[in-house]
Subunit: 167 residues, 2 copies
Amino acid sequence: EEPLIAGVATDLSEAKITVVGVPDIPGKAAQIFTLVAKTGANIDMIVQNVSAASTGLTDISFTLPKSEGQQVLTALRAEQSETGFLGLQYDDQIGKLALVGAGMRTNAGVSAKLFTALFEAGINIEMISTSEIRISVVTRADTINDALRVVHTAFGLDGTEEAVVHA
Amino acid sequence: EEPLIAGVATDLSEAKITVVGVPDIPGKAAQIFTLVAKTGANIDMIVQNVSAASTGLTDISFTLPKSEGQQVLTALRAEQSETGFLGLQYDDQIGKLALVGAGMRTNAGVSAKLFTALFEAGINIEMISTSEIRISVVTRADTINDALRVVHTAFGLDGTEEAVVHA
Ligand SMILES: C[C@@H](O)[C@H](N)C(=O)O
Ligand SMILES: C[C@@H](O)[C@H](N)C(=O)O
């Protein structure tokens, strides 16, 4: 299946919260997001990778509007002992870039091309989350303009910009 | 924005590879996925969370058809010293479940409800990756049938099953 690349979306409006050291047992994600939902916050991307065998712990990161960061941190901190995670990290200097298209699921080459373009611009990829229609990366906010430019060039999107820029 | 839940998709055809201890510096994701792309493998979900400040290392996990696992492991192992990751984990007993809908990005309540349903069935959530239209989790393969059932019930989808089951 040939991948179709439609465009690039960037977002500088979000912050990232990482819940560090979450016990990898049933119920923890439920506890955390029930708390978050109670604050009324809008959650965008959630990422959790596998736990470390040696610790039985993993991290859960999610992005949300910067304006909602504090209320969520406060709610989580209040339940830290109850939930049992080790700590919280807050980062309001992230940028999010997504390559938007279709049929990208079966194409490791598209991911490789995106990651290579960012590397060639010296941009570090801090988080990755993909679906069939979107490859999303989190980088430093101050690299997003360069990232947009090199990704457009790499995929021949110059002049066909469909960038959705949230500020 | 009210979220619309369209259905649940499950997939038992995939295996998971975790590249453990990847140096969190530009170029590593590019190296890894260029290698993977060369094998011709079809890659589905890629997940990378933030690195640990103490180690400067992170893990990159991805799923792919079970039939393609070995060729990718072989290719990665051959380049381990070049790329510098600590190790590889291979897991062919995963199940993937995705809640499919629209407008889910802004709704922490939908994620909370999904995670709670799985918890109540005693199912451990091993990975999470979300987009506006899809909340995907990885669990043990032998919990996927229970997961499908409890998620249908939680979201009132009984009888409207849009489950896409890959076997
Ligand atoms: C870490 C967290 O996702 C846990 N495994 C749970 O099922 O809730
Ligand atoms: C870990 C890996 O994603 C690395 N940060 C890179 O940019 O390639």
